[in-house]
């Protein structure tokens, strides 16, 4: 049975004969369907609201979505790792509250920022322990921790807003570098760093592996517990930082913010095309999802759409977009 030499060319011819098996077009279509949706939306927005593409409006759009974008970045990691984090809203609120509260009590916005990030890290560690070590379903684990974190934020702030008068507190969100507002720079940098981390490093590859097949990852010797925990810690950090940014932007930190931020972030990640099953997705997809949502919200506000029509339009557009995405994927298969 020594014919392997025969086989190689034979198979090679076979592949050569059907190079169009994985014809690129439909794949491209499906991979980039959401970019198409985004472009279409932007076109629509420009028609309906001529000021849409003005630099000021674009700046506002990005500024308003910096926080949810940063949270969505963390959520991208969590979801690709096969998890779920419902506690980001509470951590965001805790970050906002702690940064403002500590700034008031210590007089230093930097200490406030550090305290907030520290609080976010603690939240993340707790989630990581619950999910990775105690093996609690991430949905329930983070629903439970969200409740506790939110309660702590209310307790800490005594259910009142911390209004910060120190102008330095606003520097983080209100300053610019090279003409670009700092938060937008931060958003861009975190997305680039996150994208590189996920797509181009060993750590990123391992995250895909634990999300795609937890057992396979474990069997190939990955430290699945630590890896799993790490994404929750990162997400906690990012959520608290997002809260700090928003507190700095508004000059107020209070515990009742962020109610929708978890669902919004998850929706952004998934509309971008990352699968909730884990093991698939990308940071650029979340960026596209973020821009789709940001465009929609801005359009609605600019057009003065009433709440009910906003709800209907937003739902319909999301459904159309994902239906198109799913259709183009199925066409490929």
């Amino acid at each position: 049975m020594n014919q392997p030499t025969d086989l190689t060319p034979a198979l090679a011819t076979g592949t050569g004969a059907e190079p169009d098996r994985a014809a690129p077009e439909p794949q491209v279509l499906s991979r980039f369907a959401m970019i198409g949706v985004l472009v279409a939306l932007v076109a629509l927005a420009t028609i309906l609201y001529p000021g849409f593409l003005s630099p000021e409006n674009l700046r506002d759009i990005l500024l308003q979505n910096t926080a949810v974008g940063i949270v969505a970045l963390g959520m991208t990691f969590v979801i690709i790792s096969g998890g779920f984090d419902l506690s980001v809203g509470a951590t965001y609120a805790l970050g906002a509250t702690v940064s403002a509260g500590v700034t008031i009590s210590t007089g230093s916005p930097n200490v406030g920022l550090l305290a907030a990030i520290g609080a976010g890290a603690v939240c993340g560690v707790v989630n990581g322990l619950l999910v990775a070590r105690l093996n609690i379903n991430p949905f329930v684990a983070t629903l439970g921790s969200a409740s506790v974190i939110s309660g702590i934020a209310y307790l800490y702030s005594n259910s009142a807003p911390f209004i910060v008068s120190d102008p330095n507190f606003k520097v983080l969100a209100r300053s610019s570098m090279a003409g670009i507002p700092t938060p937008i720079l931060i958003l861009a940098v975190t997305f680039v760093v996150g994208g590189v981390l996920l797509a181009m490093t060993r750590y990123g590859r391992n995250i895909y592996a634990i999300g795609g097949n937890h057992e396979a990852a474990w069997l190939s010797g990955l430290r699945v517990t630590d890896l799993t925990a790490s994404v929750y810690v990162m997400t906690g950090l990012l959520a608290a930082f997002a809260g700090t940014l928003d507190a700095s932007r508004l000059g107020v930190g209070q515990a009742d913010v962020g109610a929708n931020i978890a669902l919004d972030a998850i929706a952004i990640v998934i509309v971008g095309g990352t699968s909730l099953r884990g093991g698939e997705g990308a940071v650029w997809r979340s960026a596209v999802g973020l821009l789709i949502f940001a465009t929609l919200t801005n359009l609605f506000y600019s057009l003065n759409l009433s709440q009910n029509w906003q709800l209907i339009a937003k739902g319909t557009i999301v459904l159309l977009a994902v239906a198109l995405d799913s259709w183009s994927r199925n066409r490929r298969a």
Binding site: M1, N2, Q3, P4, D6, L7, T8, A10, L11, A12, T13, G14, T15, A17, E18, D20, R21, A22, V196, M200, T201, R202, R205, N206, Y208, A209, G211, G212, N213, E215, A216, A217, W218, L219, S220, G221, L222, R223, S275, G279, E280
Partner: protein, 505 residues
Amino acid sequence: MSKTPAHAIVCRGARKVFSGAVAVHGADLEVRTGEVHALVGENGAGKSTLLGLVSGRLAADGGTVEVFGHRTHGGNPRESRERGLVAVYQELTMVPGLSAEANVFLGQVQTRRGLLDRRRMRRRYLELCDELDIQIPPTTLARDLSVSQQQMLEIMRGVESDGRILVLDEPTAALAEHERETLYRVLRTLTARGTTIVFVSHNLDEVLALSDTITVLRDGQVVRSAARVEWTRPTLIEHMVGRTVDQLAERGTHDAGEEVLHAEGVSLHGVLHDIAVTVRAGEIVGLWGLVGSGRTTFLRSLAGAEPSSTGRLRLHGKQLPWPRAVRRAIADGIVMVPESRKQALVMGMDATSNYWLGRTTGRGPFLDRSRERTEAGDTGAFFAFRRARLGEPVRNLSGGNQQKVLLAKWAGHRPAVFLVDEPTRGIDIGAKAEVLSSLVELAREGAAVVVTSSELEEVLAVANRLLVFAHGRVVREIAADDPEFAVDAVVRHGFSTGATHEPAH
């Protein structure tokens, strides 16, 4: 302790209990450094469990495991990996959403300055492909690969990790002749480099051909461990099953009846090209071909599981619309046993429920559990499946027993056309004979059977006719009384490009 201890693996009194069921009790295993060590035994004998204890996938409930003289505690694959032991498992451990290349480098990526070194990995991947004689495009997603292609990737991963001990659980079960040969070659190269190899296989020929030492397990205990020279095929079988099995199976002697299935012009864009097949009642038609030659896809098309396939179908002489849904095909009396257990069984459900899934005892909407159990047990017994295990979640069954559940489930339809994809994958020699004989029995009862197997001998043993596939075409049809109905000739046809021979237009 010297640099290379004499024993690579030493197990003493290893014991593993699963929710009260003892899978391995008091097994002693000694693997000498540098040897090829085979583990054999019936389905459920505890081979995978024992390997699991050695590789650290499982934690022992008793006894000790040493790798190169270091006591391991189990329950953590990292531990033994750090000692140089690398395992390739029986259950496929692919990450479906990652590319073939990424799967090979799972847990062992190469980096440069903190970033993935894609160029180096690509180069290494292509080298491995060459070495193992595999053609899998590096960017194809694992989920789009066939079971055997995934198995090859898994072996590539094992080879790439460059362990001092390589543990392989049924590495050849999903492979066809040709890839087996390649694998044997690779294993020999590795041994030459001093790698210790432990493997499990139900293929006694390869066990006898490759090993230095053979250990037989039965009911979780080591029956005998001895050097290759002390074993012969019959003694192996006798130790495994406690009786002798001299022949795989006998071809049916009954006459073929009316034509049952006639399909022609079966095509699926890019995969299948105009295939025709005719099967008469009582006949067994075998399909053989190399990996990726399209056998599975052909059977799926017939069974309605490839909605975009096209073709013409005649059943019992009646022209029927081409089945575009599985339920349509089932209603017509065509059923298919899929090639992958993971694909076809609901792992969390018990065997009885799996057996009855998609079917009814016919008494209203309510389940009639006792009747279900009785009938599932009867059909299961036909495939040598123990009644007592009907109520257990399929997940807890050993690979071979899962296969039996699968066969019983589909045979239970009492189909007119029985399409069977890899029926003997991962089942022991005793049960293999049972399964093949039951296929002959089904045919004798009047079913038209189409069977594929990567083990050509098995197909040749039971088939009345053989279709040889290459590149999605039937390149040859050989009857059992044809002189070409033999391993050499068939394999030669299998390697044809599909263009030189006349396709079966």
